[in-house]
Symmetry: C2
Subunit: 115 residues, 2 copies
């Protein structure tokens, strides 16, 4: 988890696309950690990739990936190696998940004076 | 963190608003855990609240709250007790954060057959 990207993405001015992936896991790793790292790396190589943020607790994981537009996010969903990971996710790794595709219209960072 | 809400929110049909709050923490608790639980409870009482998802690791925390529209999310930002928490967040709890306000246009859940 994390590792290949900074914890908070430095995204450009809105609008851009956010894909919010919230999941609960099954027991055990079953190759999940290795796949997760690989998918992080592969996502970062895709056209239109802007960044990714993720945090995982025992009960729940959230990954938000950022893209120049919905088309770029949709194209990443169809990348062959990612399709295999999605299939494995349904059969093995995830107990449940929800994916939300959103347009970020406004954003702001902590004031410089407070950082 | 979590506790008052299910790990994955059951939101209505899009469109609705998502507020993505990604943060890195300073060292130590300094009342953070207590504030976090209180803010979770208080958010859930606000008009237009649809749900909240959060996951925290050592390095990074992500909280996504869902609202009927941007106005409902903006109103929550201005609730007095929440303003105090935001101030304390800047002075004490957070090393850095970014807030993104987005419109969720599409969502889907894991297929029933795989759950």
């Amino acid at each position: 988890m994390g590792g290949v990207h900074p914890p908070i993405s430095r995204t450009p001015e809105p609008p851009y696309t956010a894909v919010i992936f919230t999941s609960t896991r099954t027991q055990g790793d079953h190759g999940y950690a290795r796949m997760s790292t690989r998918m992080d790396e592969l996502a970062a190589e895709q056209p239109g990739y802007l960044g990714q943020e993720s945090a995982h607790e025992a009960m729940v994981g959230i990954t938000v990936s950022y893209w120049v537009d919905h088309d770029a996010a949709a194209a990443w969903k169809q990348v062959a190696e990612h399709l295999i990971a999605q299939e494995r996710g349904q059969s093995t790794w995830y107990a449940d998940y929800t994916v939300r595709i959103a347009t970020v219209e406004r954003d702001y960072r902590m004031p410089t004076s407070a950082r």
